[in-house]
Subunit: 366 residues, 2 copies
DNA sequence: ACACGTCAGTAACACGTGTTAGGTAACTGT
DNA sequence: ACAGTTACCTAACACGTGTTACTGACGTGT
């Protein structure tokens, strides 16, 4: 067998090869693929036949370089993909974003930090725009985004200037759920929050969590308490970390009667942990979540939580990004409302009432 | 304000601009960014300073065109993104794939069909390789994949020739769960399967589903029954379709005593439907799933199902793809085993026993 | 017969980078 | 002092396309 018979590593055919095979110019090939009106149907057929024969298909690299469009949206993620995919929150969010992709015929690129650096990730991503999820108050990445001169939309970053954004009213949502527990009579309350980014030199708290803590303080203030009267634990947002943190929290004496968890995923772990500790929910401990993932109504007991419209958040973020890419950008901002969903995981504490018939108040601080 | 003060639509700076600003050649700029050994540290600093000043960052389009690498893996999806993201199966699968991305510093591109055409999607995607999920026996897309001359790995397509692949032993898994129900004494069994792709001229059944049906037949044959003795319904793989299909199935008289659902997601919907119909699971109807999603142990009753190692499947597919991209391709194939997980949603039927003390057999066919 | 518009197709440019071969000055050893 | 090596940098090429301005041929109305 000669080299001609079986060209071992034949290079990929280019539009030039097709042009030669069809006896036309390279431009004609391009037109045949993209703008049928510019060539006669006869030669168009001939060109496409030649392309089929050579197994030619126009590679995206050239087109991308030429007209600057990739037909794909980037999602800048705060963690690596496995950690993100563990949280059903993101599945919901991507459903909303996916609706936009379907409508616009685009694909979706999941962009995790490379080696703990989102800046590098932003640099290398070949996309038409970014949806930025849960960016810190640290604005290093934003600087890189403006460098790239690509449109972007900030999600859960607190409606900053200079870019469109989508947020939810974290503060009110957290206030509602804390108020709910306080009205039920709970006073020994533990909060399970999401830890700050550990990979930063000066760890910065995530904006939504700051707002949620503030909302809880609002509710405490309204009944004459303050942040010092509750305990706050911070762990990574995984089910397992919620499980472990709850075990640690429940070792305290006196034990909290209510657990305010600021993410449903961790609340699921918390319920598991309480079950394994032999504690009844909500008999011994009330548990509340945040997000209202679909799974929240499949747990037993079903989870009292704060519903946020996650799918809508993704869809709106996508819509904002699309209009920014089209240059219709007017830096739109949207704040979505939350709703307290009261289910079975919260009820009044079973503590002995005080002499005056009210629940035991938190001990006065000196 | 003059145009010089506020250049309205200044074009993005290129490496040439940086070179001019730093008083060096364009090549030096490239080296400063990519290969520090090729330029003195002094000028490197000067170049980077100039780049920072001009807010220059090398765009990926040029690099991609030049060296043909995009640093991202493509996942070819059978449905649009919202439908895919609804199924926790894919979240698990992407967790496994994400592990590989983390290790290799790559991003992940979700590529849905554009206008019902995966071929177009394959054409436009700028990736280094494809993981192909649940491709039909129809091989139109594969032709386009070979055209693109990009590496790809087939998942759940039945170990074809010409490409690496990852599969599970669908047939044995389905046989196990069917045998489990038959041994419990069930004879009136309904199967809830996933519908064939409706968007095809000649609808083709998905390979894994064909294998699972075959496995059920294996179990039936072992007890002297055949496929005609069971009913099979096919609906899209969503929770809601599982719900509706179950309502329809349960309208039949005599009612089935067991429901073999070939995807956990649909089984969740089935359990909902049975609950809403006032039927007890497993008292009135046993239900089994397939996949063993984490959610399967949070339903009440907890779901008897066939566990498949979804995360591992994703990771192995990613590993195969990486080695194919590196040219170490030897068309590896892997078939992963399943395990029957017996939980609470299956138990013997509560039917009146026949005179000989055995459960009512299926009526003989004429 | 001639100016004119239309159609099919082409040459040339632009997109922005990475990298190879080569050239110049400084430096080193004898 | 001079040949040889080294350090640094540059010119030039290649990657593969989409699109604008243009050319030539052909038909058409007067």
């Amino acid at each position: 067998m000669t080299a001609k018979d079986a060209p071992a590593a034949r290079r990929r055919p280019t539009s030039r090869d097709v042009a030669a095979a069809a006896g036309v110019s390279r431009s004609a090939v391009s037109f045949a693929f993209n703008d049928p009106t510019r060539v006669s149907t006869a030669t168009r057929e001939r060109i496409l036949a030649a392309a089929r024969e050579l197994e030619y298909t126009p590679p995206p690299s050239g087109r991308t370089l030429r007209n600057g469009r990739t037909q794909s949206l980037g999602v800048l993620l705060p963690h690596d993909i496995p950690k993100v995919m563990e949280n059903p929150y993101y599945a919901r969010f991507l459903m909303g974003l996916g609706q936009v992709c379907t409508r616009e015929g685009m694909s979706l690129q999941l962009i995790p930090p490379v080696g703990d650096s989102l800046v590098k990730a932003v640099r290398h991503a070949a996309v038409d725009g970014f949806v930025v999820c849960g960016l810190d108050t640290d604005r290093g990445e934003i600087a890189e985004l403006t460098r790239r001169a690509l449109p972007y939309v900030l999600v859960d970053s607190g409606a900053p200037e200079g870019a469109p954004s989508v947020d939810i009213d974290d503060r009110e949502g957290a206030r509602d759920v804390a108020q709910h527990l306080l009205e039920l009579g709970h006073r020994r309350i533990a909060v399970l929050s999401v830890e700050p980014r550990a990979d930063r030199p000066a760890p910065t708290y995530r904006d939504p969590l700051v707002r949620r803590i503030a909302g809880i303080e609002d509710a405490l203030t309204a009944v004459g308490l303050s942040r010092g009267d509750i305990t706050v634990a911070e762990v990574p947002c995984t089910r397992m970390d919620g499980y472990r943190a709850t075990q640690a929290i429940m070792a305290a004496r006196p034990r909290p009667t209510a657990l305010v968890v600021l993410a449903d995923l961790m609340a699921f772990g918390a319920i598991d942990a309480l079950h394994d500790l032999g504690l009844d929910v909500p008999g011994d401990v009330s548990v509340t979540g945040f997000d209202d993932l679909p799974e929240a109504q499949w747990t037993r007991p079903r989870l009292t939580t704060v519903r946020q419209p996650i799918v809508a958040k993704g869809r709106i973020a996508g819509d904002f990004l699309i209009s920014a890419i089209r240059g219709e950008d007017q830096h739109q901002h949207q704040v979505l409302q939350t709703v307290l969903i009261t289910r079975e995981s919260s009820k009044p504490p079973a503590e002995p009432a005080t002499p005056d018939g009210r629940y035991q108040p938190v001990p006065a601080r000196t």
